[in-house]
């Protein structure tokens, strides 16, 4: 796990020559395991960029409207079995899965708000976000097109 984290911090730029073959192969492994993620909103959403901390707050239900707006938030989540989900919560929101589940139960039943809507694939998340002006979700960055607006990319360049 530590080794993977170490490699994931190394920029996997294949145009660079002279990088050790071992690291390259590790990088290509990491890039498979850690696809680049994009946090996306509806194109009409006035928000243009988010910080990692803001995204973390959003997915922990600590922000109840989009910052700087009076716009509601519909959080779209993926399913636990999906790699995007695991990468998103481990590296971006930074919370253990077991803790997240307990946190969400406490959040819901203390009346603090709704839980995210879980959808089963990146495509479905993208489609939902493209149709709902209040929605926010995370998808594989390669799927981003004009139907959604990317406001954060992870890992960052």
């Amino acid at each position: 796990m530590t080794i993977l984290k170490f490699f994931s911090t190394i920029k996997c730029n294949r145009n660079k020559v002279g990088v050790l073959a071992a690291i390259l192969s590790a990088c290509s492994y990491v890039s498979l395991a850690h696809a680049e993620l994009a946090v996306v909103v509806h194109p009409s959403n006035p928000v243009t960029t988010f910080s990692q901390r803001e995204i973390s707050k959003l997915y922990l239900g600590r922000l109840h409207l989009f910052p700087g707006t009076s716009q509601n938030i519909i959080l779209i989540d993926q399913q636990e079995s999906q790699p995007s989900y695991q990468e998103f919560y481990r590296d971006l929101v930074k919370i253990r899965f077991e803790k997240l589940k307990r946190y969400r139960a406490a959040y819901l039943f203390s009346g603090r708000g709704n839980l995210p809507i879980q959808l089963s694939s990146d495509e479905k998340v993208k489609e939902y976000v493209s149709r709902h002006k209040d929605a926010i979700g995370y998808i594989d960055a390669s799927l981003v097109d004009a139907s959604v607006k990317s406001i954060y990319q992870f890992p960052q360049e």
């Binding site: 009076s70 253990r96 039943f109």
Partner: protein, 426 residues
């Protein structure tokens, strides 16, 4: 919707937290009815349940909650349903009805109780106001006392989540919460005010004014919470009436007996409740510790109390073994005892046998409140499903009956509670 909501809240008797199933049904029907105005995803229903079985190792009549020496399913069994309605961009409403197998007012076993009913207005992304019935934030887990899924144990640690405070565990009023960043620290702040009437065993309690604040500081793996609540309190008990009447009768002998009678009354007494808590996640280990302090007035029928617990648990795959140590002490204020002793120099023991008995019984009653308790708990939680867990717990209690919520006093203070609890959220 809001006017109905407000009317509903006003109609609910403050005295009782219970509402009829019919009211719940109406609320739900109304919530459904209102969906014609909004998108279907603006009404959210959810629920939780715990099914618990437990027994004590004692063969006498003393109980812990409703557990005795035979296996029973009542005490840790809870069912709750919640409706959350997004009325507009900034307004939402939440209602939660809970049915519990055991409560300390001894009346509402499995009777549906309206635990939460509030309207919320979101001022900014971080700041909101709620009006209605809410949980009093006395502890780390106050908001989720009944959501077994949200904590490691069979039930929140008994030394701190003391049953003495069960009557003030919720209130009717309003609160304001906000959050902000202080450097790398995320801060949650909440201020609230309200009132509540309730019962604890034979005591009728009225919290005429409840005011408090609550701070939570969060870092990546550490959360620290401090909360202080003050409450103007009236308390009365039919069980104390023979004592006060006896002293009032004795006041023809000397005014000191009027003073003693009055010292049995709690009227407009201000109590302070302080709570300090922390949760620290260290890799797979989790430490949770809390301490509370109740500070009552020095006069009248009032107490001070402290309690704490320390819990350590470790996530091992789907298993979470845990161990908890807890302590509790109640200090009854010394006024009654002092006055009774003073009165012995006015009317010496042996002169009026009836008065001697009265004083003797009174001191015994007072002494029962000077109690202490310890608990040692070992258990394991198994998350066998995304939304469900099962816990097996052994809890050794060394405590007088009163802390355990039983009116029977027993010189034998040791109890081993075995419990198995299944928690679900849906």
């Amino acid at each position: 919707m809001l006017s109905f909501f407000a009317a509903c809240l006003v109609k609910l008797p403050l005295r009782s937290c219970r509402i009829s199933l019919q009211t719940v049904y109406l609320l739900i029907v109304y919530a459904f009815g209102s969906t014609t105005l909004y998108a279907a995803n603006d009404v959210h229903f959810s629920g939780f349940a715990s099914i618990g079985a437990g027994k004590l190792d004692r063969k006498d009549d003393m109980r812990f909650m409703d557990y005795d020496s035979d296996w029973s399913f009542r005490s840790d069994t809870i069912l709750g349903v919640q409706a959350l309605v997004n009325v507009s961009q900034r307004w939402s409403a939440t209602a939660q009805v809970v049915s519990r197998g055991f409560t300390f007012d001894k009346k509402s076993d499995f009777e549906p109780t309206l635990e939460w009913l509030f309207a919320k207005y979101q001022w900014t992304p971080e700041t909101s106001t709620r009006i209605g019935r809410m949980r009093t934030p006395l502890y780390l887990y106050s908001d989720t006392l009944e959501i077994g899924y949200s904590y490691p144990w069979s039930r929140p640690p008994v030394d701190t989540y003391t049953f003495l405070l069960s009557a003030i565990s919720d209130f009717n009023g309003l609160d304001v919460s906000t959050s902000f960043d202080l450097g790398s620290t995320y801060v949650d702040f909440r201020a609230f005010a309200g009132a509540k009437k309730g019962k604890y065993l034979e005591f009728d309690l009225e919290f005429k004014k409840i005011i408090g604040t609550n701070f939570k500081f969060h870092w990546d793996n550490l959360s620290i919470r401090y909360g202080v609540t003050v409450a103007e309190t009236d308390a009365s008990s039919k069980s104390l009436e023979p004592l006060t009447e006896g002293y009032e009768f004795a006041s023809i002998l000397d005014p000191i007996f009027t003073e003693i009678a009055e010292a049995h009354i709690t009227e407009s007494a201000w109590f302070q409740y302080h709570g300090l808590g922390l949760q620290w996640d260290l890799d797979s280990w989790t430490l949770i510790a809390e301490q509370y302090l109740v500070n009552g007035p020095e006069e009248g029928f009032a107490n001070d109390a402290i309690g704490w617990y320390f819990s350590i648990s470790r996530q091992m795959g789907h298993f979470v073994p845990y161990a908890v140590v807890g302590y509790y002490k109640n200090y009854f204020n010394g006024q009654v005892k002092q006055l009774v002793q003073d009165s012995e120099s006015v009317v010496a023991p042996g002169i009026i046998p009836l008065l001697d008995t009265l004083r003797e019984v009174d001191l015994e009653v007072i002494d029962r409140y000077n109690e202490r308790g310890e608990s040692y708990t070992l258990g394991i939680r198994y998350d066998f499903h995304t939304n469900a867990d099962i816990k097996f717990e052994l809890q050794f209690l060394e405590s007088t009956a009163l802390l355990l919520g039983d009116e029977l006093d027993s010189p034998d203070e040791e109890t081993l509670v075995t419990s198995i609890v299944l928690d679900l959220v849906f």
